[in-house]
């Protein structure tokens, strides 16, 4: 065995350029595959991170304008959700795990002394936190008692807190929202949502009393369990539309009377796009791999042809066909393994390095959207790809060597 490797080492040393070219095509194949897959994964991870702020199966309902006449009423009529419509929904929806009507005041001033932040104020119920995956970093979120007792409390984003209170602890402090005093009860952080001016949240009932005396709601969001695919989600939307069409008097086929934004569908659509990208990346990656395999095969083919005369000499000296075959296959195996390993290590180091730099950047700027995140490749995939190249390299050496070995010694000796 040691002798065999010495023989291999000798031939490798004698053919540095050829060995380098073979090795390079293997290293490059593996390296490119890792970079490609890593880039694809990075893109996907980044985008998916951006989607995470929407709980996957949340559905939002917005009133619109009718686009079809119904029961003698003209089209173009405005649909509105009253308090009782909301209660109707709350009672009649099944399998709901979270529910919150939302009152949005798009431009609202939150003030502490001379400091002002202008942003969206949202009146929400406690379930909102789960629905939007809000993370409470300090204090608490709005609870049922806040809502029931119409407490004037507000949950703000640390960025808002920084402007209003500098380094002071904002919890328990008072602010004015559109001239009404509110007490800050918590700080929240939002995943992936890249907003220049983050919203602040007050209890829905408080908002309705102070800012929305008419009581009409323009956004209802809820999470329905058991909706896992496109069909179920479409079914649910149709059911919901039918249900509301009777109560709010619009044509059940009217798509514009209410807007149903189903985040699962959005999510799945994005998922489909990513699957497409992943497929594309894989096709290119496999193409690169095949190019590597073809490169190795070509070089081995030429190598074996060039060495036919040498094999003839070896045979004359008493080399058995098996020993020559073993020499070529082991040489091929050694080269592909070493260079495959090099390509793998370089590729993995690069992607992991990039991932850690991106992770640091992401940690430094939490409110920036991630286009690229964690561009790494599953190690098993990398190992499998390397194994494929190594096996291909061995086959690429074996096939022409087998042919060369079957040549009569005298013909091999006459080969020039």
């Amino acid at each position: 065995m040691k002798d065999l490797f010495q023989e291999i080492f000798l031939t490798i040393r004698a053919n540095k350029m050829r060995t380098f070219l073979t090795g390079f095509s293997i290293s490059w194949g593996i390296f490119m595959l890792i970079i490609l897959l890593g880039a694809g994964n990075g893109l996907q991870n980044g985008m998916m991170e951006g989607f995470r702020y929407m709980s996957k199966n949340s559905i939002s309902l917005y009133p619109g304008f009718t686009s079809m006449p119904y029961n003698g009423m003209q089209k173009g009529r405005r649909i509105r959700f009253s308090q009782s419509d909301i209660e109707f929904l709350r009672r009649n929806l099944t399998n709901v795990s979270a529910f919150s009507p939302i009152y949005n005041k798009w431009s609202s001033n939150i003030v502490n002394g001379k400091e002002v932040v202008s942003s969206t104020m949202s009146g929400v119920e406690p379930d909102y936190q789960v629905m939007r995956s809000l993370e409470i970093t300090s204090g608490r979120f709005i609870n049922l008692a806040d809502n029931r007792q119409n407490r004037k409390v507000v949950v703000i984003h640390p960025k808002t807190a920084e402007v209003l209170f500098r380094n002071q602890n904002p919890i328990g402090q008072y602010v004015e929202i559109d001239h009404v005093p509110f007490q800050v009860i918590g700080l929240y952080d939002e995943d992936g949502a890249a907003r220049r001016s983050p919203s602040f949240y007050i209890p829905l009932n408080t908002a309705q009393i102070i800012f929305n005396p008419s009581g009409y709601i323009d956004d209802v969001s809820f999470v329905v369990e058991g909706i896992e695919n496109k069909e179920q989600s479409t079914d649910f939307s149709n059911k919901l539309r039918r249900m509301l069409s009777q109560r709010l008097q619009f044509d059940p086929n009217d798509q514009n009377a209410i807007w149903i934004q189903d985040r699962l569908s959005d999510y799945m659509q994005a998922q489909t796009i990513f699957n497409g990208i992943a497929l594309f990346v894989w096709i290119i990656g496999i193409g690169t791999l095949i190019a590597g395999v073809v490169g190795v095969s070509n070089i081995m083919l030429i190598t074996v042809k060039e060495r036919t005369h040498e094999f003839g000499v070896r045979k004359a000296l008493g080399a058995s066909p098996r020993s020559i075959l073993r020499l070529v296959v082991w040489e091929s195996l050694t080269i592909t393994t070493i260079f495959g390993y090099i390509g793998m290590v370089v590729g993995v180091l690069l992607t992991e390095g990039l991932a850690s730099i991106l992770a640091q950047n992401a940690a430094a700027a939490t409110d920036e959207p991630h286009i690229f995140l964690n561009p790494t490749v599953d190690l098993t995939v990398v190992l499998a790809a390397t194994a494929i190249l190594v096996v291909a390299g061995v086959v690429a050496g074996y096939v022409p060597a087998k042919r060369a070995v079957n040549v009569k010694p005298i013909e091999a000796l006459q080969h020039k």
Partner: protein
């Protein structure tokens, strides 16, 4: 040592070429025989058949009493390794191996350890006056030196028979004489049977017997009295 009965060989490259037309030949153990003949007379083909580098179509070939016929490549490799040494006109050294490694190669295929076979190879190179050239590649050596390396390689595994195809064909007359002296010495001292193919009369006359070849058949055999 060698016993050939009615050996026929035809090449099928385009039109069939009947190269050997029933050759009968006996070479005794320890003999030193040369084969002469015009090019295309079949003398090299005969040597290749004796060396089991090529097969024959008809007849029987016995090497040291053993019938050499329809052997597998693995079997013939073993016979070559154990019994036959080759010296070629174009030396056929492996160009990326040093003189020492070239000489040691037959022992590699016999499974001798690296250390041991290199020591033996150095000893043989020394006997042929090439000890200082052990670490040189063939490309750094003269024709005569290369042929001496090849001879060292042919005798290192202590074969019973050495087959030399135009061993002096690529050498000038001085080095030719050196090579012939070495071959004769090996024949005498080691008792190795020699069969050489040549077209040079002065080379053939240094052997014990000249087999003349003509048109695929032996036309005459001359005994030479060596002094």
């Amino acid at each position: 040592m060698i016993h050939l009965e009615n050996i026929h060989k035809t090449y099928y490259a385009g039109s069939p070429l009947h190269v050997l037309k029933g050759v009968d030949l006996d070479v005794a153990d320890g003999d030193f025989v040369s084969i002469m003949g015009a090019s295309g007379s079949g003398k090299s083909t005969l040597l290749n058949i004796v060396g089991i580098l090529d097969n024959y179509d008809e007849g029987n070939y016995y090497l040291d009493g053993r019938l050499i016929k329809d052997l597998t490549e693995t079997q013939s490799a073993k016979v070559r390794n154990e019994m036959i040494g080759f010296v070629f006109q174009s030396f056929n050294l492996i160009n990326f191996k040093t003189a020492l490694e070239n000489v040691a190669l037959p022992l590699y295929y016999r499974g001798v350890s690296r250390k041991k076979r290199n020591a033996i190879a150095l000893d043989y190179l020394d006997r042929l006056g090439l000890k200082d050239w052990a670490d040189h590649l063939p490309s750094e050596m003269s024709g005569g030196q290369k042929q001496r390396v090849a001879i060292a390689r042919s005798i290192i595994a202590k074969p019973r028979l050495i087959l030399a195809d135009e061993p002096t064909g690529a050498l000038d007359s001085t080095t030719s004489q050196e090579v012939m002296d070495i071959l004769r010495q090996v024949n005498r001292e080691e008792g190795i049977t020699m069969l050489i193919v040549t077209h040079a009369r002065e080379v053939a006359e240094q052997t014990n017997k000249i087999v003349n070849f003509k048109d695929g058949l032996i036309s005459s055999i001359e005994d030479i009295k060596q002094l």
